[in-house]
Amino acid sequence: MANSQDHSRIHRLILQAKEGDAEARDELLECCRNYVNVIARTNVETWMRAKVDASDLVQQTMLEAYQGFQDFEGKTEAEWLGWLKQILAHNTHDFIRKFRAAKRDVKREVRMQTSPGESSPGIDLSAQLQTPSQFMIQNEREIELANAIAQLSEDYQEVIQLRNLQRLPFDEVAERMGRSRGAVQMLWARALKQLQETLSQSGED
């Protein structure tokens, strides 16, 4: 099974990287880049309600993960992805703030920084993620899925991103892509089919 192989691959990479294997660390980060990218884009665009170039955000997140790797204390994939997401969440916050910086005034900023619901960066993830084995497989498959999405043509990526990940209704997808609703629906169906084929191919390899 591709899953279990891949599963052990990431797991192995984590263990090797933690023992100081720089190559394993780079490989580990590289194979999660698409995953971080998909989630970053989904988050930022859902927030901004517009197409946003999130590559700086992904870059920054990968860089911090790279630099701060020795701080990562977990062992499992779930912990690893949780850790990545945590860095991403932190950066996303900054990213959106910068994006809107011109519109915000000082008072607002102060209020935001002291609001009681503010996330503290050192949140304890293990309490949230019970990591049953099913959960790990799901994490693995999400990485695979993100890689498969990255292989699609730009149009396909866009329509999957808007309809499935940002959960916009077709009318809005059509508007954002500047096409008719019918055209977007067809595009979506083809993108889904292509994605499924890419996934099953990568599973066979």
Partner: protein, 550 residues
Amino acid sequence: MPTTDNNDSEGNTPEQGDQLSAEVLEFLEQHCEALQTGDAISIPPGLLEKHSELRELVDCMNMLESLASSPVSDVHATRDGSGGSFSSSMMQQLPREFGSFCLEEELGRGGMGVVYKARHRTLDTHYALKMIRASEFASDEEVRRFYQEARAASRLRHPNIVSVHDAGEQDGLPFLVMTYIEGRTLADHFQDGHAKIDTTVTHIIQIARAVGYLHQQGIIHRDLKPANILIDETQTAFVTDFGLAKVFEGDGERTMSGTILGTPAYMAPEQAWGKPDDISSQCDIYSLGAILYQLLTGRPPYDEESPLDQMLRLRDSEPKLPSKLNPDVPSSLEKICMRCLEKKPENRYQVAEEFADDLERFQHGEPITLQSLGLWARLRRWTRREPALFVHLAAFLVIAIIVQIAEWSSTTRRDSYAPVMTILVIWAAISFLFQYLMTREFMFSRRTWIACDAALFTAAVANAQGPIESLVTGYALLIVASSMWYRPKLVAVTTGASVVSYSVLLAYRGAADTPPHYPYLVVGLLLVIGGIVTSLVRRIRQLLAVRSRL
């Protein structure tokens, strides 16, 4: 009609043979919808037998959904329930607590807001609760105007307007509490099929009276559309979402949200194209007319495929008469409707009440008060409705006058007179035919028309007197004129037709006294003109796309 510029092209040609069938597509769409609202639907066994790949597609979609729901924010959101920071209101699960309310389901999303069906926990009554979507990142100014608008809206008392009861802030999220209307939006309403004309008129009268009341209170709705009108079980219409468009208007926000410009189907031309300053209560009157049009005919006034073409048509053409789309529409009702859709605000009804009054007179079978427009305005309207025909006829008239004057001023009878005049008459007749074909949306009617133009022009020139080289400019005119459809491919076709016709003309008439390489120069010039015009049309479309999508 050939949509020559549909950008759904080369990059992703449909895979032949394994195209997804319509029923699979329909199921996938339903499944996607269900997945995102939180229930799962199973694959009908019959469908699965026919399409074995369906299971894998559904698996794939489920995975996408789990990826979508895994965003970083969930970690915090599920923890404290309110999620004051990054976790957006829209990324959280329902039902959930929100102050003294329990948010039960999402009713809809507007440009900047989300509306929830919410139950007040103490009163045990349902309300519609509206929030700014991106509130943490809205500036203080935006929040201030949200409340200012809420204050204005809370003073409104009208049986056909959704009332605002309360406004406040919870976990840093400004919100607005409105009456919850059990019913459906007008948009859902007519998806079931044709509405009856008398119910339609009743609804529109109610809406128009409500809009008239808004105008009296100094509020312009600006975003009247079927999705913003609710119909309850007693068939009463309610205007909702008023003024909120105004809150976010006029600053950088419009470029962020994407929906303020959005689909211009119900927007007045001056609103879709003009500056925010041009927006007056007349825009709402236009939107009322557009909604009436939609209800009468089953489509908006301009139902072009892309918002882009809608914008272009909104600017320089007229909608089809409703009675052409639905023969049951009486002519007086049609007149009322079309009057609202006038391009110039001053030609529309001046106040919404007049519009409602006329509809009521129509309902009671009384004569409507509508003054007919002047001859000039009617002519303008006709030229917009059938611009190509108008341009042709105008050109023929000019040519005929010149040829006629030449005939009178020459002492001898010229051989070219009769054939040229005959061709002009035939050409005019053919233009009427093509105009008819175009309104019937025959395939390739524009291209055939253009090709005919090139051929007939060639025939006319071939019969003209003396050296004809100077008349060749007519081909350039044809190419430039074809750009008025804003279709790059059409310009290319015209350029091709012109070059071919010119070659035929040369073969027929020869080019005495001109150096042999001149014809090549002419062909070269025509091609360059064609290229420039094509790229101009492309550029216009791109600019518009940017404007309407951002």
